[in-house]
Symmetry: C2
Subunit: 168 residues, 2 copies
């Protein structure tokens, strides 16, 4: 790959889906975009899922990410919540699979560990650390966007570590 | 609607997704197609979800259903299973939502009640009753296809009852 890879990070949710897109540079990763997809609550759940899918597809078509890094499954939620979250995650997974973009999953704790240094970091700690690491003018909001950037950074760290190990 | 409506019934699953397509006639519903989507197990889960989505989209493009009737959520499964089943369900919901096809959800018990007369019917009872009601040469297999036809029939009964109530 001649160009540095672009990572799309996604923090899926039934109400708010956070996204963060970074380009991996040897020194500092560059933020291309971040924010959240928040379909209007007055819509049916099916219309909301369609908006999540269309929005992620539009992000992919705009930024051409090489990789999707997505928050992996919570196992402690109740089955009803897990089912709904599964549908929302499915929208991101399908949008990437349709474009043959490789998918990597990271547990929320692993993303926090990679960014803050502890898997039990607070939302505010993640937001402040993301601001520092990515040289943003202010902490990214909402927290879902910060989490998505953290997942993208977690993947960048993972491939960076792998590359360093390969060089040795 | 001048033509009798076409109902696409879906019984979603992570390994096997059953489908059944019927055209509602005043006397006997007509079976247009039934079967199952069984993506190869050697593929990644993402590739399998893509196959589920593409297959349902192809069924919609071939048969132009007016409605998607889909098995609703189980609440007793564990969160990990519910999450995966949610992703599979999401593929069917998105395929319908992208074509602006209305979606109706039915609990498995309600579908069994509509077809067999009891919500606790066995798989074999459902298969035999579907064979009788739809004048099929043999019980539909696999059971996931029979369940999908049962969900489609359940929706046909529901709109039939509503129509009869409206006429009174």
């Amino acid at each position: 790959m001649s160009q540095p890879p672009i990572i799309l990070g996604i923090d899926p949710g039934t109400l708010i889906t956070g996204f963060g897109i970074i380009r991996v540079h040897p020194q500092t990763p560059q933020v291309l975009d971040y924010g959240c997809i928040r379909p209007p609550s007055k819509l049916t759940c099916y219309e909301r899922y369609l908006i999540i899918f269309n929005s992620i597809e539009a992000l992919i078509e705009k930024h051409h990410p090489d990789v999707l890094a997505i928050e992996s499954q919570f196992v402690y939620r109740n089955p009803q919540t897990a089912m709904k979250l599964g549908i929302a995650r499915g929208m991101a997974l399908l949008a990437a699979a349709r474009k043959q973009i490789p998918i990597f999953e990271y547990a929320p704790k692993k993303a926090k560990l990679a960014v803050v240094g502890t898997g039990t970091a607070s939302k505010e700690q993640v937001q402040r650390m993301i601001q520092l690491l990515l040289h943003l003018p202010h902490p990214p909001t909402p927290e879902d966007a910060a989490d998505a950037l953290a997942i993208a950074l977690c993947h960048a760290h993972t491939i960076g570590v792998k590359n360093r190990l390969a060089v040795r």
